[in-house]
């Protein structure tokens, strides 16, 4: 199958999943709310409380930028199809867990002369070299991935559902509010044996977007509780 055909099929599949998810009323805050969700937020904006104003405004932006947020989150999903890639991912995850642990304690061993510190330093150098080796090895794979990405982006540009204007609904730094205010981490890497799992990934990410919004609603309620009305 050539790259164009592959891109077309992928676009169609994702298009269907995407539209069905966004039409799902179970995840629509407007449907879940007993009153008009947008009106509630607009009302909250009118209170003379800076924190409440910011949060209500952020909620409104998030509510109206779900499509873009979901698209951004899906862009960061990397699909690993081959067994070899999945093995590599597991190895790297393990290595990075070790490295993270050492990095957190680096002030105790970095540049120190005791035997344990020297051992940790050498281990760290070994991990850096391993990662460098992976990067050198994967340079040709990166080129392939970039081509795939270009093809998908080309197809996305031709599909109105993906045509989200750059910079719209973003803050002064150009970031989307959803990504700047996350309190929990979202796994970006998912591996696939079948492409059908894409649907689950899309749903998980939309659920996460809604969850972040619910968390903000709770924060608004907390502020309201402490306000003298």
């Amino acid at each position: 199958m050539n790259v164009d055909a592959k891109g077309n099929i992928m676009t169609l599949k994702i298009n269907n999943v995407f539209e069905r998810l966004l039409d799902d009323k179970k995840l629509d805050l407007e449907e879940l709310s007993w009153a008009d969700y947008v009106c509630i937020n607009l009302d909250l904006i009118l209170y003379q409380n800076e924190g409440l104003l910011n949060k209500a405004f952020a909620l409104l932006i998030r509510f109206h930028s779900q499509r873009k947020s979901l698209l951004d989150l899906l862009r960061s999903v990397q699909m690993l199809e081959s067994d070899q890639a999945i093995d590599t991912l597991r190895n790297i995850e393990l290595t990075l867990t070790n490295l993270r642990r050492m990095a957190q304690n680096s002030e105790f061993w970095l540049g120190q002369t005791d035997r344990e510190s020297i051992k940790t330093s050498q281990k760290t150098i070994g991990i850096f070299d391993y990662l460098s080796g992976l990067l050198t090895q994967s340079e040709s794979d990166e080129d392939m991935f970039e081509n795939d990405e270009l093809t998908i982006m080309k197809h996305a540009a031709e599909n109105p559902f993906l045509a989200v204007e750059e910079g719209k609904n973003s803050d002064s730094h150009g970031n989307t509010p959803i990504s700047t205010n996350v309190s929990s981490r979202l796994p970006h890497l998912t591996y696939y044996s079948v492409t059908g799992q894409m649907k689950q990934t899309c749903r998980n990410r939309l659920l996460w977007i809604v969850r972040v919004q619910i968390q903000s609603i709770k924060e608004c309620l907390e502020i309201l509780k402490h306000m003298k009305l």
Binding site: I92, A103, G111, T124, D129, L134, L135, S138
Partner: protein
């Protein structure tokens, strides 16, 4: 994959650990940092998303190890390379860089290496960017020549 797993963030955590005063084994310390920079240089080379992910660290890299070398200058060069808009974003750091280059003695080899990397800011792939060339030359020639570059 490494970007999604935030490998660069972890490496930067080690690099940012600036406890030079308490360093007893400077050779090993520099070896670790150099190795970290070497990995990051490969990480950002010819990869725009990776370059963007490290853009926020340009200033830290300059401040922490700009005067040592150890690959920090090369890393900044690689982060800012190949994207004309990146130069604009990193412009204030670039000015700091020129200031720090001035501080290095003219006899030091590090000075020539760092001056060489100023050329990174003036090119987009193989093409020179006139505005950036003017900015670099203006910035260099506006100095009071306390420790002359030429």
């Amino acid at each position: 994959m490494l970007r999604n797993l935030e490998a660069h963030e972890i490496v930067m955590t080690v690099i940012k650990q600036n406890n030079e005063r308490g360093v007893e084994n400077m050779e090993l310390y520099q070896k670790v940092i150099k190795s970290g920079y070497s990995m990051l240089i490969r990480f950002v080379r010819n990869n725009k998303p990776n370059q963007r992910s490290l853009l926020g660290y340009v200033s830290t890299v300059f401040k922490e190890h700009g005067s040592y070398g150890l690959g920090s200058t090369q890393l900044v060069g690689e982060i800012l390379r190949d994207d004309p808009t990146l130069f604009q974003k990193g412009y204030s750091d670039f000015k700091d860089k020129i200031d720090s280059i001035e501080m290095i003695p003219t006899t030091s080899l590090l000075k020539s290496t760092q001056l060489h990397y100023l050329s990174v800011f003036m090119m987009y792939k193989e093409d020179p960017i006139m505005d950036n060339q003017i900015a670099v030359i203006t910035e260099l020639t506006q100095k009071d020549n306390v420790n002359t570059i030429w």
